[in-house]
Amino acid sequence: MRAGIAELAEKLRNREISAVELTKVYIKAIEELNPTLNAYVHLTFDTALKAAEQADQMLKEGDAPPLCGIPMALKDNICTDGLPTTCCSKILKGFKPYYDATVWEKLKKQGAVLLGKTNMDEFAMGSTSETSCYGAPLNPRNTDYVTGGSSGGSAAAVCANLAVYSLGSDTGGSIRQPASFCGVVGLKPTYGAVSRYGLIAYGSSLDQIGPLTNSVKDAAIVFDAIKGGDKRDQTSVDYDYGAPLAECLDRDVKGMRIGVAEEFFDGINPEIKSKIEEALNLFEKNGAKIENIRFPALKIALPVYYIIACAEASSNLGRYDGIRYGYRTSSYTSIDDMIVKTRSEGFGDEVKRRIMLGTYVLSSGYYDAYYKKACLIREEINREFDAVFEKCDVLVAPTAPNTAFPLNYRGASPVEMYLSDICTVPVNIAGVPAISIPCGADAKGLPIGMQIIGKRFDEATVLQAAHFYEQCAGEVIGAYEGGARV
């Protein structure tokens, strides 16, 4: 296995390698591979090297935080002061915020080294990262396939060793699904566990920032660093997790009640189904209790998700009008004309589709039939999760019904693509935490992801179960051979 954050931190502290040297290794790997993989859309090597120098200073002074000097990447929808933040949309081309997202502020304080901003679906809307205005990132496992999305670049960068870890955002599966497609670990924390300040909003009641890493332990270390209440985000919660979660991973699964709902396995690729079943066997063999439960609201979760996410998006994206920042059309006859042309030219098709959907479901005459009803069903889904977690400690499900799509794959309709979010969206609707970890590969060698879902603010159990599986199952999928080597 490759070096995790803790090992690298140890090497940095022992001065086996300096942060600048480590950063240069990653820069070289990015220069070599990124032209093919397109994982990064903005490279920030100058600031990275400066940050590495500062990290070396911190390391020299001793008592450096765990992420000091570790090279990493941020999804392009997380605001970085003075550095491009464009959501991979033409409408934000050239936009550089003058403020940091809270997560980035926290990591910066730890001495994190930002290598660049990663590719994503435009405004995080998509399941393949192909709606990016910079072109799709490629799956490092097989470059004929997509990375998944929307945090595709973040998953690809971590998979290909172009960053030790990255942050993504997850509104309906956007961390977990690409993690599953690229064979890395992706954690979507409880809604409110991590501040959303500075995360450019898609669906505000669903969005959550989380880490993509090469191991469960790394995910725990990064989560420990970014979690916590924020006075700039009213929806954040200062939950007391006790000791750092990364220090509480070692726990066996004896007596752990693992729920399995058959609804999650409906229409799932049989190869994926059998890999998850193997994992469940492993858990059971080690003393976990498998509980068969029902989750009837699963099917309805998908339309509920698309109604709520699109409604919020239609409002959140209203501000991109070419007046204050970002792209502005070149010729216009009036302010109204300028706004219409700017938005027509600046947004891609998928974004426009979701804005229109959202506008429609909020319109008077349709509000009750769509948005209001979706909110009521959302409460029902919450109740179903509550009921499930009375019987189980965690829920195990596939992350996605399929492995990575081939590039430029076009299903029969956009709805077919939406269907691939079926296993991940209920988690966002309920605001509970979930992790995706690799549990094998299909016949083509494409990674398969297993999802472990927990109670609100019970990331500890989710991470413990995932860590146990990871340790027990050993290497379920070969490590990517290229990229940075330390």
Partner: protein, 471 residues
């Protein structure tokens, strides 16, 4: 034909909180364009609103002062519309769960105008048109507002004005806004329709937007009622539309519509959690409210025995009332204190704004010290007035102008001998008085006043002089 006016008023009031409703930027009026701004109030991507608790508190104050029910559960909604002065393309407002509901304002006649609701929301920026360009100033973006919606209970132009005036006074009294209509910190939209007396149905209404003075409200209601009456008399129908009142021509004309039919697509703002206000907090705020002007007025008349007109002047402005009551607490008499404020202090204040601000240099205690001298008849009212004027100009205390030795009353004997002196010194004036030129007696008054530094009792002196002269 005769019509009945059916009128309701929507009032936007800027709250006088120090910071904006969702960020820490100052709410100060003016300032270089776009200097009172941050990522939140300019709607930068990724920024999030944090609800200012002072805004909630001020709105509850307004609700309690207007006899409203306070909804202890409430939330913020997004009102979506596109306009360049609105940086997020939605205004954070309240739609179906306003903070306050079901209150009223009582007019002098005893008639109550219902308050439908009060909700909190953010103001937008300002467009500035110059040299063929349009500029946007976001300093005002995010300044907290309350919108107060009345029931259509207003049935005359006078009532409309009185409603707005009472509302303005009350809001100033409780200190939540300066309600300056010219500066836009209070703006009124008037909804108006006509119907035949006794008709239970409402006619078609129009909305007159952004009226910026109390007297214009009255004039606009009259002008619009006349305009609608002319249409109805001619057999026409009123068109439901947004109007503008032009004060120079005193006419109401249709405004260009921004959008044909607005659908604001209201929905709960997911960035701001639903909030609960505990009853205790409401009671705490209720207890902190000052006595309101109309309660004060009644008390001044009924308990202090002041004439209605004087009581009205003293209760109208909070600072005046506080000054008056402060002086009473220091032992000043009601009558002298009231008359000196209304007579002397107000004569220095030409505008209502000055009375509202009541920026005077002396304290209630300093004022009371002077009033008490008059109360005890140690100085007469004329001296009290002139001394007060000097105190107001200098901010100095009464001792600076009236020495202890001046305060000793002039004995009758002294006064008599002074009168004799005056007569001896002014034989010509005495002769004039005797020959019927009565005004000549002023010469002797002048002599006595000069000798006594103005503290002689002028009526006593007159009686003595006339006796001595033999009239």
């Amino acid at each position: 034909m005769n019509y009945e006016i059916v009128c309701g008023i929507e009032t936007h009031i800027e709250l006088a909180t120090k910071t904006k409703i969702f960020c820490g930027c100052t709410t100060e009026f003016g300032g270089e364009p776009n200097t009172h701004c941050c990522p939140v109030c300019t709607g930068q991507p990724g920024s999030l609103p944090i609800l200012n608790q002072k805004v909630v508190e001020y709105a509850i104050k307004a609700g309690l002062a207007l006899n409203c029910k306070i909804n202890t559960k409430s939330h913020m909604d997004r009102k979506n519309y596109v306009y360049p002065d609105l940086p997020k393309a939605y205004q954070i407002s309240q739609y179906d769960e306003p903070l306050c509901e079901k209150g009223y304002i009582e007019l002098d006649s005893g008639k109550r105008i219902g308050i439908t609701r009060i909700h909190i929301e953010e103001d937008a920026g300002k467009l500035v048109h110059e040299n063929g360009y349009t500029y946007i100033d976001y300093n005002r973006s995010g300044v907290p507002l309350i919108e107060i919606v009345s029931e259509p209970d207003i049935s005359s132009a006078e009532e409309a004005k009185e409603y707005a005036e009472k509302l303005q006074l009350t809001m100033r009294y409780i200190g939540i806004s300066d309600c300056k209509m010219q500066e836009g910190s209070m703006r009124c939209d008037v909804n108006l329709s006509l119907r035949k007396p006794g008709d239970p149905n409402f006619g078609v209404r129009t909305e007159i937007k952004n009226i910026n003075s109390l007297s214009f409200i009255q004039k606009a209601v009259m002008a619009e009622a006349e305009r609608q009456a002319d249409i109805l008399d001619a057999g026409g129908t009123v068109v439901q539309q947004t109007m503008r009142y032009d004060e120079t021509t005193n006419t109401v004309t249709p405004m260009r519509d921004k959008e044909n039919s607005e659908d604001y697509r209201y929905f709960p703002d997911p960035d701001i959690l639903r909030f609960c206000i505990d009853e205790e907090k409401v009671e705490e705020i209720r207890a902190s409210l000052p006595e309101l002007p109309f309660a004060k007025l009644r008390r001044y008349v009924n308990e202090l025995g002041l004439p209605e007109a004087t009581a009205k002047q003293l209760s109208r402005y909070r600072r005046v009332a506080e000054f008056f009551e402060g002086a009473l607490a220091e032992g000043a008499s009601v009558k002298n204190a009231a008359n000196l404020i209304v007579g002397t202090i107000f004569s220095n204040m030409d505008t209502e704004e000055e009375k509202e601000l009541f920026g005077i240099k002396i304290s209630p205690a300093q004022f009371a010290a002077l009033v008490k001298l008059a109360d005890e008849k140690k100085i007469n009212i004329g001296v009290a007035q002139s001394t007060l004027q000097k105190m107001l100009e200098s901010g100095k205390s009464v001792e600076e102008f009236i020495k202890p030795e001046d305060l000793v009353g002039i004995s009758d004997e002294e006064l008599e001998s002074l009168c004799k002196e005056a007569i001896d010194a002014n034989p010509k004036a005495v002769a004039d008085v005797r020959s019927g030129k009565d005004k000549a007696i002023n010469v002797m008054f002048g002599y006595i006043m000069k000798k006594t530094g103005g503290k002689a009792d002028i009526r006593k002196a007159e009686a003595l002089l006339r006796k001595l002269i033999g009239q």
